[in-house]
Amino acid sequence: MSEIETNIKLIEAAARGEHRACDAIVSQFGQTMFGIIARMVSDRRDAEELTQDALLRGIRQIGSYDPTRAPLKSWLCRIAYRTALNHLRRPTIETASIDDLPPTAESDMVDSFMREPDDHRVELLQRAIRRLTDDEQLLVMLFYYEEMPLADIAYIIAQTPNALGVRLHRIRQKLNNMIKQDDL
């Protein structure tokens, strides 16, 4: 049985009220979904309730899941993202233009800052990440922490992978600029 089939059976078992299946779903998908929602909705209780809503929607609508479009985790994350957007009554996150790509010279500096291992830089970056917008933090989290492919992230937040790539480059430069300004 493939991983997808196993996960679908897990969700179906949860829908039948099986305690262990619910636990497994929460531990496997719940925290990521909560992470997405908590980035967008500041109130923790609201975020928990929205995560619950999103999981319930996923469990109830498992019949409409199409494995050929995205992995189950991405499908559930998309539901979580949509649930948070509905809560915030926002249509979508802001999109990036290809013109927003940073100049090459500056880009090299950013690359150097991000790549050469340095604990002080990590601390500076950690502080800077918290000053990013919710949408930017969400993208960074899904890309660097959840290690989701750009195609899956694009599926979750309904953007093209190229636009997301541009946006990631912009975020890196923004982080670099924040740190520079703080040093000045």
Binding site: C22, Q52, R60, M114, V122, E147, L168
Partner: protein, 176 residues
Amino acid sequence: MKQTEQLRHDDKNLREAVRRDMADAPQLPADFSLRLQQQLQPDIISRRRWYRMIAAIAALMVVGGLVWAIIPQLTSPREATEHTEAQASPQQDLEVASMVYFSNTSLDSLLSVVGAHYGRAVCFHDESLRQFRFTIRWNCSQPLSTFLGNVNEFDGLQLIDRRDTIFVDAEKEVLP
């Protein structure tokens, strides 16, 4: 796009910063799974309710089918029996039709009916016997002698058919 994917591995500082940031991020409460299960309960109950309704309908259909299948079997033998009885019935019917039931009837009344049927007169040697009361069945299709034999079974009575007359007498003790 491949270059962008590569950032995930190349940006070691940023990746570590995000990891540390996520370590501080709020976690789902321990009872979250339980709460989720409680939220799922109405679904499960409602689904169970549907299952019960479907099961009840299915059971009704099965019971209905069984009843439908069994009733002809239950009625057929009876009909067959009735048919058989009906075939054998002329004599029985005649018997039933010729059966007269006397309940607590005086011997006087009883013999006037029976005598009239067989064309006999009735003569009581002992007038007191007229008030003897009987509860007895009479099959008028049988010969008179049969009926008289049945009545003579009663102690203290003797009925004799002689010269188109039924003579009624008190039974005489037979002396040794």
